[in-house]
Structure formats: structure tokens, C-alpha cells
């Protein structure tokens, strides 16, 4: 007699937990878009770095990469809607602290956008020392935000 009852309860519980974890399409899309964008950002920044590490960066390669970085950085804020953290159930390293301590996160995001713009300007000017300095400060913004808001799996 008790078995069907508990079975129903378990099913309901499972359905409820599934509903809690099933993110809305908008949230899922935002997560996918930000992950894709971060991959592009990582790739472009790595290519800029590879150029700098070669000792004589090819500015013609660096310029479009730096422009891409500045453009993508400016778009990042819209990829972090509420609910797109770990509670979304989607595989993400975005910590819940992003929304708990949102002012700090937005500040760091702003720093990154500014640093990416500066990299773009430095690439346009073609000065290697300026480019290297801009690369360092942009890399620093990656790290300071990752340390605090990106989960190590």
C-alpha cells in the first residue's frame, strides 16, 4: 500500500528538482554565448601573447585581434543574466558570488573592458612597449576576476 505512495512522492520530487535545474532558454543561451565568447577572447589574447613572446610582434596580426578583444569585452555584461550561475544546472564555472557580490563583479568587468580598449589603442599606435604594457594590464584583469568569480573544477 505504501509503495505506490512513496513512488509518487519520489517521482514528484524528481520532477520538482528537475524543474529547479532546468534553466530557461534565455539563460541557457546566455551561458552558451558567453562561453563561446570567452573561448574567442582566450584565443585572440593567446595569439596576441604569442606575437609579443616572439620578440618582434607582427602588428598587422595583432591589430584585428586587439580590435576583436575590445569588441567582445564590451559585449560581456549582457551574458550574465540572473540565474545563469551554478543554479542553472548548465555546466558553468561562473560562481554564485557573481550575483551575490554583483557590484564587485561589474567593477572588474569594467576594468577588463577599459583594458581591452587600451590594448586596441596600443595596437593601433604600433608601439611594442605600449602593447606589452597593455597586454599585462589586460591579463591582470583576467586573473583578478577569475581568482574570485571563476570556479576551479
Amino acid at each position: 500500500m505504501k509503495l505506490p505512495y512513496s513512488l509518487a512522492l519520489a517521482t514528484a520530487g524528481l520532477a520538482a528538482s528537475y524543474a529547479a535545474y532546468a534553466a530557461t532558454p534565455a539563460v541557457t543561451n546566455a551561458i552558451k554565448a558567453r562561453q563561446a565568447s570567452y573561448k574567442e577572447i582566450g584565443g585572440a589574447f593567446k595569439s596576441v601573447n604569442d606575437e609579443i613572446k616572439s620578440g618582434s610582434p607582427d602588428m598587422n596580426s595583432v591589430r584585428p585581434l586587439a580590435r576583436d578583444l575590445a569588441t567582445r569585452a564590451a559585449l560581456l555584461p549582457k551574458y550574465f543574466p540572473k540565474g545563469s550561475g551554478p543554479e542553472s544546472g548548465v555546466k558553468t564555472r561562473a560562481k554564485a558570488e557573481i550575483w551575490k557580490d554583483n557590484a564587485a563583479f561589474v567593477k572588474l568587468q569594467g576594468d577588463m573592458i577599459t583594458a581591452a580598449k587600451a590594448l586596441d589603442a596600443a595596437a593601433a599606435s604600433g608601439n611594442v612597449a605600449g602593447l606589452t604594457a597593455a597586454r599585462n594590464s589586460l591579463g591582470g584583469t583576467c586573473k583578478s576576476c577569475h581568482d574570485r568569480f571563476r570556479a576551479e573544477l
Partner: protein, 230 residues
Amino acid sequence: MVKADASSGAVRLRIWDLPTRLFHWTLVPLLAFAWWTAEERMLDWHRLAGYSIFTLLLFRIIWGVAGSSTARFANFVGGPSRLFHYIRGHMFNRSAAPAPGHNPVGGWSVIAMIAILAVQVGLGFFSVDIDGMESGPFSYLVDFETGRVAAEWHAFIFNIILALTALHVVAILFYLLHRRDNLVGPMISGRRKWTGDHPTLHFASSWTALVLFLLVAGGTWWLIAQFGRA
């Protein structure tokens, strides 16, 4: 290579040459240093640790072909029958004669350790940090995603290295407690207590080892300086 001669009685038999012992005891702090510099994000030092370990591994592989009897792979790496014969007949038997060098099980653990460390160094060469700032010297040859995969494997494989190290220590404790055989002393002094007929072991010159090591170190430096970007 391993022949018995007629002499008997307890002696201090030389089994490990100096280069093999130096290889072992430099590797230990280097692994700890590589771990610590990664934890502290001192990537300049971490890369140096990696290059040093790479040099040591290359040297050990060459020494495993050109070195003393007990350092040579051909003398301690056996097939499954030798392995099972040792495990069933010798390993747990306190009165069984000790191995003059690596026993068949230990031999495979040497191979496993060298192989996993080589894979680890290889992955480190191509790794890219998530912040895009730090990278292995050859990561410029691969794209960002490949570099990230290499870095993730690099982080994972460290756990396997820890597991193998733990197994190594457990095995040493097993030999110490069950077989009453201290394996650490000989790795320091090069000699172990030996009773009865003792094998004839050939020892290669430490000067040969030094020349080989310097060649390998120079080659590594040239490879990184010439083709690496870090």
C-alpha cells in the same frame, strides 16, 4: 649481465651507481618544487622545474641504455611471466633472496614513473593558462582550446604522479616492514647488505654520465631557447 660468482658471506654489495642515485634524489625535490611553484603561480620557476625534469628524464632514458647494469632497462624490465613469477614466489617471501637492483615489479614502476613524467612534461610544453598570460614554451604551436585541454590534463595527471609516488612509498614500507629490507639506504649509499653468491655487476663511469648529462642539458637549453616562446 647478472652472473653469480663463487664468493659468499655477508658483504656490502655495490648496486646503484652515483648517476642513478643523483637522478633519483634530484627528481624528488624538483617534483615538490614543480608542484609548489604551480600552486603559487610562479610560472617562471615552474617552467624551469619542468625543463630540469625533462633534462633528467632524457638523461635517465639514455642511462637506461648506456649506463651501469642496474640502471639498464634491459636488465630490469621483464615480461608478464617474470613479473608473476616474482609476485607469487618472491615478493611476500621473507627468506627469498633480494634483487640486485630493481626487482621485476619495481622495474615496471620505474617505467610507469618515467612514462607519466614524460607525458606530464610534454603536456606542460603546450599548456595555456586560463588567463592567457602564462604558457608552456611550445604552446604557440597549438590553438587556445588545445592549450587549455593540455593544461587540464596536466593538472589531472599530477594526481596520477601523486598516486604513483604514494605507491612507491608504500612499497618501500612493505619491503622494510614485511621483508625487513631497507631500500632507502642503498639508494643513498649505493650499497646493500648481501649474503651468499653475489652477481657480477658492471658499472659505467660517472664521468661518462656527466658528459651525457651536460650534452642533454645543453640540448634542452638549445631547444627551448631556439624554438620555445614563454
